[in-house]
Protein backbone atom coordinates (compact mmCIF):
# COMPACT_ATOMS: atom_id res chain seq x y z
CA UNK A 1 0.00 0.00 0.00
CA UNK A 2 2.45 2.73 -1.01
CA UNK A 3 1.65 6.42 -0.96
CA UNK A 4 0.19 6.64 -4.45
CA UNK A 5 -2.41 3.90 -3.92
CA UNK A 6 -3.41 5.46 -0.63
CA UNK A 7 -3.63 8.86 -2.27
CA UNK A 8 -5.84 7.59 -5.09
CA UNK A 9 -8.18 5.93 -2.58
CA UNK A 10 -8.39 8.95 -0.32
CA UNK A 11 -8.92 11.48 -3.09
CA UNK A 12 -12.21 9.74 -3.90
CA UNK A 13 -13.49 10.48 -0.39
CA UNK A 14 -12.33 14.10 -0.18
CA UNK A 15 -12.29 15.56 -3.70
CA UNK A 16 -10.52 18.89 -3.97
CA UNK A 17 -9.31 18.92 -0.39
CA UNK A 18 -6.19 16.79 -0.95
CA UNK A 19 -3.18 17.85 -3.00
CA UNK A 20 -1.45 15.34 -5.24
CA UNK A 21 1.60 13.39 -4.15
CA UNK A 22 4.75 15.52 -3.88
CA UNK A 23 8.22 13.99 -3.56
CA UNK A 24 10.84 16.27 -2.02
CA UNK A 25 14.22 14.66 -1.31
CA UNK A 26 13.58 11.02 -0.38
CA UNK A 27 10.12 11.52 1.12
CA UNK A 28 6.78 11.51 -0.73
CA UNK A 29 3.67 12.91 0.92
CA UNK A 30 0.52 14.84 0.14
CA UNK A 31 -1.13 17.86 1.67
CA UNK A 32 -4.65 17.87 3.10
CA UNK A 33 -6.89 20.69 4.30
CA UNK A 34 -7.16 21.46 7.95
CA UNK A 35 -10.94 20.90 8.21
CA UNK A 36 -11.05 17.29 7.04
CA UNK A 37 -8.37 16.00 9.47
CA UNK A 38 -10.73 13.97 11.67
CA UNK A 39 -12.60 12.19 8.86
CA UNK A 40 -9.40 11.64 6.85
CA UNK A 41 -7.67 9.91 9.74
CA UNK A 42 -10.83 7.94 10.53
CA UNK A 43 -10.82 6.63 6.98
CA UNK A 44 -7.09 5.94 7.01
CA UNK A 45 -7.36 4.05 10.27
CA UNK A 46 -10.46 1.98 9.76
CA UNK A 47 -10.78 1.36 6.01
CA UNK A 48 -10.13 -2.32 5.42
CA UNK A 49 -7.63 -1.88 2.65
CA UNK A 50 -5.45 0.61 4.55
CA UNK A 51 -5.58 0.12 8.35
CA UNK A 52 -2.99 2.76 9.23
CA UNK A 53 -3.48 2.14 12.95
CA UNK A 54 -0.13 3.31 14.30
CA UNK A 55 0.52 7.06 14.46
CA UNK A 56 4.30 7.27 14.57
CA UNK A 57 4.79 10.98 15.21
CA UNK A 58 3.52 14.50 14.57
CA UNK A 59 6.27 16.91 13.53
CA UNK A 60 5.62 20.66 13.54
CA UNK A 61 7.71 22.77 11.15
CA UNK A 62 7.94 26.57 11.03
CA UNK A 63 8.06 27.52 7.32
CA UNK A 64 8.59 31.22 8.13
CA UNK A 65 5.34 32.37 6.46
CA UNK A 66 3.15 29.47 7.69
CA UNK A 67 3.32 26.42 9.94
CA UNK A 68 3.23 22.82 8.74
CA UNK A 69 2.25 19.66 10.62
CA UNK A 70 3.65 16.36 9.38
CA UNK A 71 1.73 13.22 10.36
CA UNK A 72 3.40 9.85 9.89
CA UNK A 73 1.25 6.71 9.90
CA UNK A 74 2.25 3.06 9.89
CA UNK A 75 0.10 0.16 8.75
CA UNK A 76 1.40 -2.99 10.39
CA UNK A 77 -0.94 -5.21 8.44
CA UNK A 78 0.42 -4.08 5.10
CA UNK A 79 3.83 -3.07 6.35
CA UNK A 80 3.76 0.42 4.85
CA UNK A 81 4.35 3.98 6.05
CA UNK A 82 2.86 7.23 4.71
CA UNK A 83 3.40 10.89 5.53
CA UNK A 84 0.72 13.58 5.35
CA UNK A 85 1.16 17.32 5.70
CA UNK A 86 -1.14 20.20 6.42
CA UNK A 87 -0.60 23.94 6.41
CA UNK A 88 -1.60 26.23 9.28
CA UNK A 89 -1.57 30.00 9.03
CA UNK A 90 1.02 32.00 10.96
CA UNK A 91 -1.29 33.82 13.41
CA UNK A 92 -3.22 31.59 15.77
CA UNK A 93 -2.46 28.14 14.29
CA UNK A 94 -5.13 25.71 15.43
CA UNK A 95 -6.36 22.34 14.27
CA UNK A 96 -8.68 19.66 15.60
CA UNK A 97 -7.03 17.04 17.76
CA UNK A 98 -6.93 13.37 16.74
CA UNK A 99 -6.15 12.07 20.23
CA UNK A 100 -9.58 10.45 20.32
CA UNK A 101 -8.59 8.35 17.28
CA UNK A 102 -4.97 7.70 18.29
CA UNK A 103 -4.02 7.74 21.98
CA UNK A 104 -0.39 8.26 20.94
CA UNK A 105 -1.35 11.60 19.40
CA UNK A 106 -2.09 13.19 22.78
CA UNK A 107 1.52 13.60 23.81
CA UNK A 108 2.79 14.43 20.31
CA UNK A 109 0.21 17.20 20.09
CA UNK A 110 1.17 18.49 23.52
CA UNK A 111 4.78 18.67 22.36
CA UNK A 112 3.76 20.53 19.20
CA UNK A 113 1.74 22.94 21.34
CA UNK A 114 4.59 23.36 23.80
CA UNK A 115 7.47 23.90 21.36
CA UNK A 116 5.72 25.42 18.35
CA UNK A 117 2.59 26.96 19.83
CA UNK A 118 0.03 25.10 17.69
CA UNK A 119 -3.30 24.85 19.52
CA UNK A 120 -5.22 21.60 19.21
CA UNK A 121 -8.95 22.12 19.74
CA UNK A 122 -10.77 19.95 22.30
CA UNK A 123 -7.56 18.20 23.28
CA UNK A 124 -8.21 16.41 26.64
CA UNK A 125 -5.14 17.81 28.44
CA UNK A 126 -3.38 20.51 26.43
CA UNK A 127 -0.51 21.53 28.72
CA UNK A 128 3.13 22.27 28.21
CA UNK A 129 4.92 18.95 28.27
CA UNK A 130 8.59 19.83 28.49
CA UNK A 131 8.95 23.45 29.41
CA UNK A 132 7.85 24.85 32.79
CA UNK A 133 4.28 26.07 32.83
CA UNK A 134 5.19 29.75 33.15
CA UNK A 135 7.59 29.81 30.17
CA UNK A 136 6.73 32.47 27.62
CA UNK A 137 7.28 31.81 23.95
CA UNK A 138 7.67 28.68 21.87
CA UNK A 139 11.35 27.84 21.30
CA UNK A 140 11.17 25.88 18.06
CA UNK A 141 9.84 28.84 16.14
CA UNK A 142 12.40 30.43 13.83
CA UNK A 143 11.71 33.90 15.26
CA UNK A 144 12.09 32.83 18.91
CA UNK A 145 14.38 35.15 20.86
CA UNK A 146 15.69 33.70 24.08
CA UNK A 147 15.16 36.00 27.07
CA UNK A 148 18.20 36.87 29.16
CA UNK A 149 17.02 35.30 32.36
CA UNK A 150 14.35 33.01 33.64
CA UNK A 151 13.25 33.94 37.18
CA UNK A 152 16.55 35.74 37.63
CA UNK A 153 18.66 32.82 36.44
CA UNK A 154 20.85 34.06 33.56
CA UNK A 155 20.36 31.91 30.47
CA UNK A 156 23.29 33.45 28.52
CA UNK A 157 26.47 31.51 29.29
CA UNK A 158 29.47 33.88 29.10
CA UNK A 159 32.30 32.91 26.80
CA UNK A 160 35.09 31.47 29.00
CA UNK A 161 37.59 31.01 26.23
CA UNK A 162 39.90 33.96 25.85
CA UNK A 163 39.31 35.34 29.33
CA UNK A 164 41.37 32.81 31.30
Amino acid sequence: MNINEVHSEVVKFFPGKISDVITSGKLSFFYFDREIIYDLFLVLRDKIGMEFKHLSYIASVDMKDHFELIYCLYSYRWGSVIHLKTRLNREGPHIRTISDLFVAAEWHEREAYDLMGIVFNDHPDLRRIMLPDDFEGHPLRKDFVEKDNYHGIPTRRDKILGRF
Binding site: I160, L161, G162, F164
Partner: protein, 192 residues
Protein backbone atom coordinates in the same frame (compact mmCIF):
# COMPACT_ATOMS: atom_id res chain seq x y z
CA UNK B 1 -7.84 -21.80 43.55
CA UNK B 2 -7.70 -25.48 42.77
CA UNK B 3 -5.43 -27.76 44.77
CA UNK B 4 -3.13 -28.43 41.81
CA UNK B 5 -2.59 -24.69 41.34
CA UNK B 6 -1.93 -24.38 45.08
CA UNK B 7 0.57 -27.23 44.89
CA UNK B 8 2.21 -25.85 41.75
CA UNK B 9 2.72 -22.48 43.37
CA UNK B 10 4.59 -24.08 46.22
CA UNK B 11 6.58 -26.43 43.99
CA UNK B 12 7.57 -23.67 41.53
CA UNK B 13 8.68 -21.28 44.21
CA UNK B 14 10.68 -23.94 46.07
CA UNK B 15 12.40 -25.15 42.88
CA UNK B 16 13.11 -21.67 41.50
CA UNK B 17 14.44 -20.36 44.82
CA UNK B 18 16.61 -23.49 45.08
CA UNK B 19 18.02 -22.81 41.59
CA UNK B 20 18.55 -19.12 42.31
CA UNK B 21 20.47 -19.87 45.50
CA UNK B 22 22.63 -22.39 43.65
CA UNK B 23 23.57 -19.65 41.17
CA UNK B 24 24.47 -17.11 43.82
CA UNK B 25 26.39 -19.67 45.84
CA UNK B 26 28.38 -20.61 42.73
CA UNK B 27 29.34 -16.94 42.37
CA UNK B 28 30.57 -16.90 45.94
CA UNK B 29 33.37 -19.28 44.98
CA UNK B 30 34.61 -17.21 42.04
CA UNK B 31 36.99 -14.28 41.70
CA UNK B 32 35.37 -10.83 41.91
CA UNK B 33 35.68 -8.69 38.79
CA UNK B 34 36.29 -5.32 40.41
CA UNK B 35 39.50 -3.53 39.52
CA UNK B 36 40.53 -1.65 42.65
CA UNK B 37 41.59 1.58 40.91
CA UNK B 38 43.72 3.58 41.76
CA UNK B 39 46.00 1.73 44.12
CA UNK B 40 45.63 -1.98 43.25
CA UNK B 41 45.48 -2.09 39.44
CA UNK B 42 45.75 -5.44 37.65
CA UNK B 43 48.02 -5.47 34.58
CA UNK B 44 45.67 -7.97 32.91
CA UNK B 45 42.82 -5.44 32.88
CA UNK B 46 44.06 -2.07 31.53
CA UNK B 47 42.11 0.89 32.82
CA UNK B 48 42.17 2.63 29.45
CA UNK B 49 42.06 0.88 26.02
CA UNK B 50 44.27 2.06 23.16
CA UNK B 51 41.81 4.22 21.24
CA UNK B 52 40.43 5.88 24.37
CA UNK B 53 39.54 9.55 23.69
CA UNK B 54 41.05 11.22 26.75
CA UNK B 55 42.37 14.76 27.28
CA UNK B 56 43.24 16.62 24.07
CA UNK B 57 46.84 17.56 23.34
CA UNK B 58 48.49 19.73 20.66
CA UNK B 59 52.04 19.12 19.36
CA UNK B 60 53.04 22.56 18.10
CA UNK B 61 55.99 21.25 16.08
CA UNK B 62 53.63 19.88 13.46
CA UNK B 63 50.73 22.31 13.84
CA UNK B 64 50.24 24.28 10.63
CA UNK B 65 47.86 26.81 12.20
CA UNK B 66 45.11 26.03 9.65
CA UNK B 67 42.26 26.47 12.21
CA UNK B 68 40.50 23.34 10.83
CA UNK B 69 39.96 21.99 14.35
CA UNK B 70 38.51 25.26 15.56
CA UNK B 71 35.94 25.20 12.74
CA UNK B 72 34.81 21.59 13.11
CA UNK B 73 34.36 21.72 16.89
CA UNK B 74 30.54 21.73 17.34
CA UNK B 75 30.68 23.59 20.65
CA UNK B 76 33.63 25.93 19.95
CA UNK B 77 36.02 24.68 22.61
CA UNK B 78 39.30 25.41 20.79
CA UNK B 79 40.65 28.95 20.44
CA UNK B 80 43.64 29.71 18.24
CA UNK B 81 45.14 33.14 17.54
CA UNK B 82 47.59 33.47 14.68
CA UNK B 83 49.34 36.84 14.40
CA UNK B 84 48.84 38.58 11.05
CA UNK B 85 51.64 40.22 9.08
CA UNK B 86 54.52 38.80 7.09
CA UNK B 87 55.64 36.46 9.82
CA UNK B 88 52.71 34.38 11.00
CA UNK B 89 53.07 33.19 14.57
CA UNK B 90 50.67 31.07 16.63
CA UNK B 91 50.30 33.20 19.74
CA UNK B 92 47.50 31.33 21.48
CA UNK B 93 46.20 27.75 21.39
CA UNK B 94 43.68 27.12 24.18
CA UNK B 95 41.45 24.10 24.66
CA UNK B 96 38.78 24.29 27.35
CA UNK B 97 38.96 20.76 28.77
CA UNK B 98 35.99 21.48 31.04
CA UNK B 99 33.57 22.08 28.21
CA UNK B 100 35.02 19.67 25.65
CA UNK B 101 32.83 16.58 25.03
CA UNK B 102 35.75 14.46 23.72
CA UNK B 103 33.91 13.61 20.51
CA UNK B 104 37.09 13.37 18.40
CA UNK B 105 35.85 15.45 15.42
CA UNK B 106 38.79 17.86 15.69
CA UNK B 107 41.33 15.05 15.63
CA UNK B 108 39.90 13.83 12.32
CA UNK B 109 39.83 17.29 10.83
CA UNK B 110 43.53 18.00 11.57
CA UNK B 111 45.60 17.46 8.40
CA UNK B 112 48.91 16.74 10.15
CA UNK B 113 47.62 15.04 13.33
CA UNK B 114 48.96 17.78 15.60
CA UNK B 115 45.87 17.71 17.83
CA UNK B 116 45.25 14.24 19.24
CA UNK B 117 43.60 12.39 22.13
CA UNK B 118 45.84 11.08 24.90
CA UNK B 119 45.15 8.34 27.42
CA UNK B 120 45.13 10.85 30.26
CA UNK B 121 41.82 11.32 32.02
CA UNK B 122 42.58 12.15 35.66
CA UNK B 123 42.49 15.95 35.59
CA UNK B 124 40.52 17.32 38.53
CA UNK B 125 41.46 20.88 39.47
CA UNK B 126 40.59 23.10 42.37
CA UNK B 127 39.97 26.19 40.28
CA UNK B 128 37.70 26.05 37.22
CA UNK B 129 39.89 28.54 35.44
CA UNK B 130 42.68 25.97 35.34
CA UNK B 131 40.52 23.71 33.17
CA UNK B 132 41.57 25.75 30.15
CA UNK B 133 44.71 24.07 28.69
CA UNK B 134 47.19 26.61 27.24
CA UNK B 135 49.60 24.99 24.78
CA UNK B 136 51.46 28.11 23.59
CA UNK B 137 53.92 29.70 26.07
CA UNK B 138 56.11 31.50 23.55
CA UNK B 139 55.01 32.24 19.99
CA UNK B 140 55.66 29.39 17.58
CA UNK B 141 56.07 29.51 13.85
CA UNK B 142 53.42 27.35 12.20
CA UNK B 143 54.95 24.32 10.50
CA UNK B 144 54.92 24.46 6.72
CA UNK B 145 54.59 20.92 5.37
CA UNK B 146 57.19 20.35 2.65
CA UNK B 147 55.96 18.06 -0.12
CA UNK B 148 57.96 14.88 0.48
CA UNK B 149 60.02 15.65 3.59
CA UNK B 150 58.71 13.62 6.48
CA UNK B 151 57.47 15.81 9.38
CA UNK B 152 59.85 16.60 12.28
CA UNK B 153 59.69 14.11 15.13
CA UNK B 154 56.60 15.05 17.16
CA UNK B 155 56.65 14.68 20.94
CA UNK B 156 55.47 11.40 22.43
CA UNK B 157 51.69 11.26 22.79
CA UNK B 158 50.57 12.36 26.23
CA UNK B 159 53.82 13.98 27.31
CA UNK B 160 52.62 17.56 26.78
CA UNK B 161 49.36 17.08 28.59
CA UNK B 162 51.07 15.21 31.40
CA UNK B 163 53.17 18.32 32.08
CA UNK B 164 50.07 20.45 32.34
CA UNK B 165 48.30 17.82 34.46
CA UNK B 166 51.26 17.63 36.84
CA UNK B 167 51.24 21.40 37.22
CA UNK B 168 47.62 21.41 38.28
CA UNK B 169 48.45 21.60 41.98
CA UNK B 170 50.14 24.98 41.69
CA UNK B 171 48.05 28.07 42.25
CA UNK B 172 46.26 29.66 39.32
CA UNK B 173 48.22 32.29 37.40
CA UNK B 174 46.46 34.45 34.85
CA UNK B 175 47.58 33.43 31.34
CA UNK B 176 48.99 36.30 29.30
CA UNK B 177 49.32 35.48 25.58
CA UNK B 178 53.00 35.96 24.59
CA UNK B 179 53.82 39.09 22.59
CA UNK B 180 54.68 38.57 18.92
CA UNK B 181 58.47 39.07 18.35
CA UNK B 182 59.10 42.32 16.43
CA UNK B 183 60.00 41.60 12.81
CA UNK B 184 62.55 44.27 11.82
CA UNK B 185 60.68 46.98 9.94
CA UNK B 186 62.43 46.24 6.61
CA UNK B 187 60.78 42.77 6.70
CA UNK B 188 63.96 41.00 5.69
CA UNK B 189 63.51 37.27 5.60
CA UNK B 190 65.49 35.60 8.38
CA UNK B 191 66.43 32.10 7.66
CA UNK B 192 63.56 30.10 9.16
Amino acid sequence: MSFSEYYNNIKNSVVSIFEGMAVTFSWMLRRPHTVQYPDRVEPSRPIVQQRFRGLLEVDLNICTGCLACQRTCPIGVIMIEVSKGAERYITRFDIEAGKCMYCGLCVEACPTGAIRHTGEFAFSVGDIRKLVLHFVNEPVKPYKPVKDAEPPAGKEVGSIVREIVNRRREGYTQYIPPAVPEVSSKGDKEST
